[in-house]
């Protein structure tokens, strides 16, 4: 059975840079407080009517160009987001519209911070089985319209940023190259530790004027930060070791680790636990905040731009976040 391989990566980040000092004018926070707890210095916010699919389309065009694959040759589109452009249909459908293509299946994966890796696992399997040759996988988020920019919402609001990135996957005949394995997990016991409750189909009605007016906090994401931190620093190394074990490899075999950019302190603890030197772990949360489903491909784009990944390198991707969900993948570049 053949492998899949990442043929090209593209990205898009909005022009509008929002610094910690900018946020401090809206809420009771400070640059020092945000940096100390998260490592974040700035993030990007999209413009009005620029949705996840719009940003995803720009990222996709770049990924297609770098992959040398025409949009019409895409066999399947997988779109990971937790901030879809519209309630329904899926952002993948709007992406097709923006790219001016149709016919190939397109659907959304809604797995929060692990969305990109769940999407990668699906894309990889479609290629492995020979069902599809070229899969476009996009991760894109517009958080800025859904966060509470008052002091009440500061714990979550300072973390999130908007952005998009995309990869094009294609077949790889050499079983030692490309995506080596993917590992997916969840534990819904902790669903309410990091969540956005409303609107909710289980609430009757789903939406009220009170919620929309923003007076009820349930319309904004909520996080029990210390709880998330504690689970993240356990699950990240665990799922990375699971991937290494599945391939008979050691942490020292990793050339580059790209952890989902949730919090710089989490990434640092994970790297320390695996005894990975600083130069083998890539972080860009300082500039973009947590872009959820977009964070891993956005980091991968910058790793490639910086020339820090060479043929034959072992790339490890790992994520943890809301759900809780967590996941990893090993890629021989």
């Amino acid at each position: 059975m053949r492998n899949s391989r990442i043929l090209g990566v593209g990205h898009y980040v909005p022009d509008r840079v929002v610094t910690n000092d900018d946020l401090a004018t809206l809420m009771d926070t400070s640059d020092a407080w945000i940096q100390q707890r998260t490592g974040i210095q700035r993030r990007r916010y999209s413009d009005d009517w620029v949705g996840a699919a719009d940003m995803g389309a720009t990222a996709a065009r770049e990924a297609l160009e770098r992959a040398g694959v025409a949009a019409a040759d895409i066999d399947c589109i997988v779109f990971a987001t937790l901030s879809p452009d519209v309630d329904m249909p899926a952002s993948a459908c709007l992406l097709q519209d923006r790219l001016g293509i149709g016919g190939m299946p397109a659907f959304d994966v809604r797995n929060q911070c692990s969305g990109f890796l769940y999407g990668l696992a699906i894309s990889d399997k479609f290629i492995k089985t020979g069902t599809y040759d070229h899969v476009l996988l996009v991760g894109a988020e517009v958080h800025s319209t859904g966060i509470d920019l008052s002091t009440r919402g500061r714990e979550v609001a300072v973390i999130f940023g908007d952005g998009a990135a995309a990869v094009v996957l294609g077949p790889e005949a050499d079983p030692r190259r490309g995506v080596l394995s993917t590992h997916l997990h969840a534990d819904g016991k902790f669903a309410e530790k990091l969540w956005l409750e409303m609107p909710a189909s289980r609430a009757r009605p789903r939406l009220t004027e009170e919620l929309i007016a923003g007076t009820a906090a349930r319309i904004f994401p909520k996080m029990e930060g210390r709880y998330v931190f504690r689970h993240a620093v356990t699950r990240f190394p665990e799922v990375i070791r699971e991937a290494l074990d599945a391939n008979g490899l050691q942490p020292s075999d990793i050339s580059m680790l790209i952890p989902h950019q949730a919090n710089l302190r989490i990434s640092q603890m994970v790297a320390m636990g695996l005894e990975l030197p600083e130069e083998k772990v890539f972080n860009n949360i300082q500039n973009y905040g947590n872009t959820t489903a977009a964070s891993i491909p956005l980091a991968l784009y910058e790793v490639l731009e910086a020339g820090r990944l060479r043929e034959g390198d072992l790339l490890c991707l790992a994520a943890f976040g809301a759900g809780f969900t967590w996941a990893s993948a090993l890629v021989r570049w």
Partner: protein, 311 residues
Amino acid sequence: MRTAILGLGHHLPPEIETGGVRRPIAVEPVGPSALAVKAASAALTQAHLPVEDIEFIAFATMTPDVTFPGSGCFFQHAMGCGTIGALDIRAQCAGFVFGMVIADQFVRAGVYNHVLVAGAEVHSSGLDYSEAGARVASLYGDGAGVALCGRTDDDRGILGSALHTDGRRHAQFWCEYPASRQHPVRMTVDDLRKGRHFPSIDLAAVRSFGEHALPAVIQEALQAAGLHTDHIDRYVIGHILPEVGETVGKHLGVGADRMNVPATRHGHLTAAALPVALSEEVESGRLGPGATVCLAAAGAGFAWGAAVVRL
């Protein structure tokens, strides 16, 4: 080696009268994950498998319990499934076919042996039951269907499938709000008062799309399976307009006795429509081992798909 449906289950809440028709409606404040839990136990029993043997969940819905995380996470915990992966997908009316085909990839790639594929919806909490929205609201129902999909070396399972989407027509059948693309907030009180959070459907366009797309995608799945229309014991058609199911039967030259159009009985259950209807057929004994079925759905996106499965 193929992926078979090893067990099926469904759950429909009690019917209540709405807009002159009776529909299964979850009057309690429950989400699709809770309905899917009720559907899943029958699927496990039918498959003679303990819950510990489930290795992955694919949950298809367009009406998630909460905005995030996905309904699959709530379902996974309620099922006692430990820390297995729980995927949430959005492919609207075609969600179940997409979910089953994704499960099929993981099984055939040798990653998982047993995957629970759920299609579940609670539409009623998001519909406009006023006079203005009654026509659309009366088309929907709430419910859940679950298929336990697993590896088999027998002469059964998914024999062929086809998936399609054309997002260029997304605004002909959509629910625009809340919209993350709108700044500074995803929805205003004015948007709410205008009812822009209710589904909006160009019924004529959706009808004509279904009448063309469904026969074509069924033929495509049949071709992939190496079968002809006559080889199929039952066609299960998921479309919001029941009359489209009848038209599809005529296009295919298939008699009404071989057509199952769940929207006729329950209203449209979107992602739940196909597994509910198939589960009903198996539960009633009308279909059993060896029967060959074709599951096909088309709707918002536009997304459409079909799968030919031998039970």
